[in-house]
C-alpha cells in the first residue's frame, strides 16, 4: 500500500464517531490551555497520561494530537490580545500581532494567524504523511551505534544550539539524565540513584516531573513576580474577515512560513523558535510595507511566523513517529504515552501500528479543520477565558497538579518530590535555564543508554564502534559542530569587529 492508500485507511479510523469526539475534545481543550497563560500542551498531556490505562491507543493519541495542535492556535490568540507569549514559539507573533491589535486591527491579526495556522498545519501534516515513509527507509539501516549518535545529535541541538546558553541548556539536559536513571536498571536489575528509598525503585514518573516544573514552578515564579507588570487585554476590534488587500499580503507569508517551519521541525533538532524568527526576518525583508513593522503592526509579521510555528509543530512528529526521537517536551511526553502502551516508536511503527499512526495523521487533518472553526467564529469564547483572574487561575492549576500527582499512587512522597521539582523549576525559570531539556533528557536518556550498551555489547566493549561506522561518525561530527561551532563563530565575529580597534595602526 502506498501513502495515499494508508491515508485513506487512516481516515477510516479517524472518522469513527468516538475518534471524532476525541478529536473535538482534544482540540477544544488544546485551544483553551493554549489561550490560558501558565498552561501548556506538555503539562496538559502529562496530566492526562493516566487515560492511557483506560482507552485504546488510537483514541488517546488523537486526543493528545488535538491538544498539541490546539495549543498552537490558542497560544497565538493570547500573544495577539495580551502580548504575553505563552511559549517561546509565539514570541514573534506577539511582536506584530499585539501592535496590530492596539491599532484596531486585532480581528485581522487573529484571522490571518488562524487561517495561516490552518494552511501551514495542513501542509505540514501532508509533509508528515509523505516524509515519514521515506525516513523509515533510511532508519531501517540504522544500528544501535547510529541510533546512539543520532540521539547525541538531538541532545546537543535541543539543549545547546537552541536557547540562550549552551552551558545552561546542557545543565538542564544532564539533570534530566539523572532523573531518568532513578530506579531499577532494566538490563541488570540494579537499583540506581534511589538513595535507599523503596519509593524510588520504580523511578520518577514523567507526570510528576512535568507538573513540578511547568505547574508548580511556574506558579511560584508568577507569585514572586506579581507586581512586575500587569498585562492588559486589548479589546477585540475590527472585523474578523480580512480585506482583499490583507489576503493578498497574507498568502505568500503563509506558504513561505510553512516551507521554513516544516523542514526545521522535521530535523532531529526540532524547536519552533528558529523557524519563527527566520520567517519574521524574511517577511520583514520582503514586505512592501516595511514601515508598518514595529509601529502599527504588519500583517506579514503575523502570518509568516504563525505558519512557520504550526508547520514546525507538524514536522516534530516526523522524527517522533519514525525514529522514536522526541525533540520537544510535548513530543517527549507523547513518547512516554507510547511506552505506557508497550509500543516502541521507531521505523517499524508505521507498519506494525498502521491503524494508530495513519489514524493519528488523518485525525490531524480533521483537527486542523475543527481548529480553524473553533478559532474564528468562536473566538469570543476564548477571549472570555483570558479574563479569568490570575489568583483563581494559578490556584486552580495547583489543584489539578495535585490530582495528577497524588492520583498516581496516593503517596505523600510523590507530593514532596513534586514540590522539590517545583522549587527547581522556579529557580530554573528565575535564572534562565530552559526546562524542556529536562523532560527530553529524562525520557530520551534511558533510550540512549540502551542503544549505547547494545552497541557496546555487539562490539565487545570496543568504543571505536561509534566512529568506525561512517553514518555514526557523521552524526557525531554534526553534534560536535553544533556544540562548538557557534562559539568559534562568535569568537571569529568578535575578533573581526574588535580587530581594528585593538590595533589601529595595523589596518
Amino acid at each position: 500500500m502506498d501513502t495515499l492508500g494508508y491515508l485513506a485507511h487512516g481516515f477510516a479510523v479517524a472518522f469513527t464517531p468516538t475518534n471524532l469526539l476525541w478529536c473535538l475534545v482534544g482540540t477544544t481543550l488544546g485551544t483553551a490551555i493554549g489561550v490560558l497563560p501558565g498552561l501548556g500542551p506538555a503539562l496538559t498531556i502529562a496530566l492526562l497520561l493516566p487515560i492511557t490505562y483506560q482507552v485504546a491507543p488510537e483514541a488517546s493519541f488523537i486526543l493528545f494530537a488535538g491538544i498539541y495542535y490546539g495549543a498552537m492556535y490558542g497560544g497565538s490568540t493570547t500573544s495577539i490580545l495580551l502580548n504575553t507569549p505563552g511559549e517561546s514559539a509565539t514570541i514573534v507573533t506577539a511582536l506584530e500581532g499585539n501592535r496590530m491589535a492596539r491599532s484596531g486591527r486585532g480581528g485581522a491579526a487573529l484571522a490571518t494567524s488562524a487561517i495561516g495556522s490552518f494552511v501551514a498545519g495542513t501542509l505540514g501534516t501532508l509533509g508528515v504523511a509523505f516524509l515519514a515513509p521515506i525516513v523509515v527507509k533510511f532508519a531501517l539501516a540504522f544500528g544501535p551505534a547510529e541510533y546512539f549518535s543520532l540521539m547525541v545529535l538531538a541532545f546537543i541541538t535541543v539543549s545547546a544550539v537552541l536557547g540562550s546558553s549552551s552551558v545552561r541548556g546542557l545543565t538542564s539536559l544532564f539533570v534530566g539524565f539523572v532523573i531518568g536513571m532513578i530506579g531499577v536498571d532494566l538490563q541488570t536489575g540494579q537499583p540506581r540513584f534511589t538513595f535507599g528509598m523503596g519509593e524510588l525503585l520504580d523511578g520518577v514518573d514523567v507526570i510528576i516531573v512535568a507538573v513540578g516544573l511547568f505547574a508548580v514552578g511556574e506558579t511560584l515564579y508568577m507569585a514572586s513576580r506579581r507586581y512586575a507588570g500587569k498585562d492588559e487585554i486589548v479589546p477585540l476590534k475590527g472585523s474578523l474577515y480580512m480585506t482583499a488587500a490583507e489576503w493578498a499580503r497574507s498568502w505568500k507569508p503563509w506558504l513561505r512560513g510553512a516551507a521554513i517551519g516544516f523542514p526545521i521541525g522535521a530535523m532531529p533538532a526540532g524547536g519552533a523558535e528558529i523557524p519563527t524568527f527566520l520567517s519574521y526576518a524574511i517577511e520583514k525583508k520582503l514586505s512592501k510595507h516595511r514601515e508598518e513593522f514595529g509601529t502599527v503592526g504588519a500583517i506579514e509579521g503575523v502570518a509568516g511566523p504563525e505558519a512557520a510555528n504550526n508547520a514546525s509543530a507538524a514536522g516534530v512528529l516526523v522524527p517522533m513517529l519514525t525514529l522514536g526521537l522526541p525533540t520537544s517536551a510535548t513530543a517527549a511526553i507523547m513518547l512516554s504515552a507510547f511506552q505506557s502502551y508497550g509500543i516502541n516508536p521507531g521505523p517499524l511503527l508505521l507498519t506494525t501500528q498502521a491503524n494508530l499512526v495513519w489514524g493519528l495523521i488523518a485525525s490531524l487533518f480533521i483537527a486542523n479543520v475543527i481548529l480553524v472553526i473553533l478559532n474564528l467564529p468562536l473566538i469570543g469564547l476564548w477571549v472570555r477565558l483570558l479574563k479569568i483572574p490570575a489568583p483563581q487561575l494559578y490556584a486552580g492549576i495547583l489543584v489539578f497538579a495535585t490530582v495528577g500527582t497524588y492520583g498516581i499512587s496516593q503517596s505523600p512522597t510523590d507530593l514532596v518530590i513534586l514540590y522539590l521539582l517545583g522549587a527547581a523549576g522556579f529557580l530554573m525559570r528565575r535564572f534562565d535555564f530552559p526546562t524542556a531539556p529536562v523532560i527530553i533528557g529524562m525520557i530520551l536518556g534511558p533510550l540512549a543508554e540502551t542503544q549505547f550498551r547494545r552497541a557496546m555489547t555487539i562490539a565487545n566493549g570496543d568504543w571505536t564502534v561509534f566512529y568506525r561506522h561512517p553514518l555514526s561518525l557523521t552524526l557525531l561530527t554534526l553534534a560536535f559542530i553544533g556544540l562548538v561551532g557557534p562559539h568559534i563563530w562568535a569568537w571569529i565575529e568578535h575578533r573581526r569587529t574588535r580587530g581594528p580597534e585593538h590595533v589601529p595602526g595595523d589596518a
Partner: protein, 178 residues
C-alpha cells in the same frame, strides 16, 4: 550580554549564580556517591549500569565548573530579572498553601485539602475574598475529583466530603436502576 560591557566594568561576583553552580557541583557529588553504591558484576565491566552514570557525573562536574566560572565573571541574569524584587509575601502564601495541602491531604481527603490550598494561593496572588475563593475552590476540587479523577480511573484519597457524595451518587444511581 554584550562584550563591550564586560570590557568596560570589572566583573563582579554574582552570589546567587555562584550558589547555583555550587549546588550543581553538590548534585554531581551525590551522583558520584550513588554511582559508587551500584554493585557491578565483572561480566558487565564495560557496558554495565555504571557507565552512563559516570558520563553524567563527569558532564555535571564540567558544567557546574563552567557555571561557577560564569558567576565569577558577573553571572548571567538578565538585567530585567535582577531589578525586579522578589515578592516574598506572595510566595510565602503559595508555599504555605502547598505545605498545607501536603499535610492535610491524608487526614482530611483531597477536596478539603484542596480548598484550603486554593484559598491560601489566591490570597498570595492578591485576592481578598477568602469566602468566595473557598466556594470556587470547592466547586473546582469537586469537578476535578469527579470529572477528572473518576473519568481517568485515577484513585485519589477520599475524605469525608467525597465519601458522603459517593454514597449519595451511588444511592441515586441505585434508585434509578431499581
Amino acid at each position: 550580554m554584550s562584550t563591550s560591557d564586560q570590557q568596560a566594568s570589572p566583573p563582579r561576583l554574582a552570589v546567587p549564580e555562584l550558589l547555583i553552580g555550587i549546588g550543581l557541583l553538590a548534585c554531581a557529588g551525590a551522583v558520584a556517591w550513588q554511582t559508587l553504591a551500584i554493585p557491578v558484576s565483572p561480566l558487565y565491566s564495560k557496558v554495565g549500569p555504571t557507565v552512563f552514570p559516570y558520563i553524567t557525573m563527569a558532564g555535571m562536574i564540567l558544567l557546574s565548573l563552567l557555571l561557577i566560572l560564569a558567576a565569577l565573571r558577573g553571572g548571567w541574569q538578565p538585567e530585567e530579572e535582577k531589578e525586579t524584587p522578589t515578592d516574598w509575601t506572595s510566595m510565602g502564601f503559595v508555599v504555605a498553601g502547598l505545605v498545607a495541602n501536603l499535610l492535610l491531604i491524608q487526614p482530611l481527603g483531597f477536596t478539603a485539602a484542596s480548598v484550603i490550598m486554593f484559598v491560601l494561593v489566591c490570597f498570595g496572588f492578591g485576592s481578598r475574598h477568602p469566602l468566595r475563593d473557598a466556594l470556587v475552590g470547592l466547586v473546582l476540587a469537586l469537578a476535578a475529583y469527579f470529572g477528572f479523577a473518576r473519568a481517568l480511573g485515577v484513585n485519589i484519597g477520599a475524605g469525608l466530603i467525597e465519601d458522603q457524595l459517593n454514597v449519595l451518587i451511588n444511592g441515586v444511581f441505585g434508585i434509578g436502576k431499581g
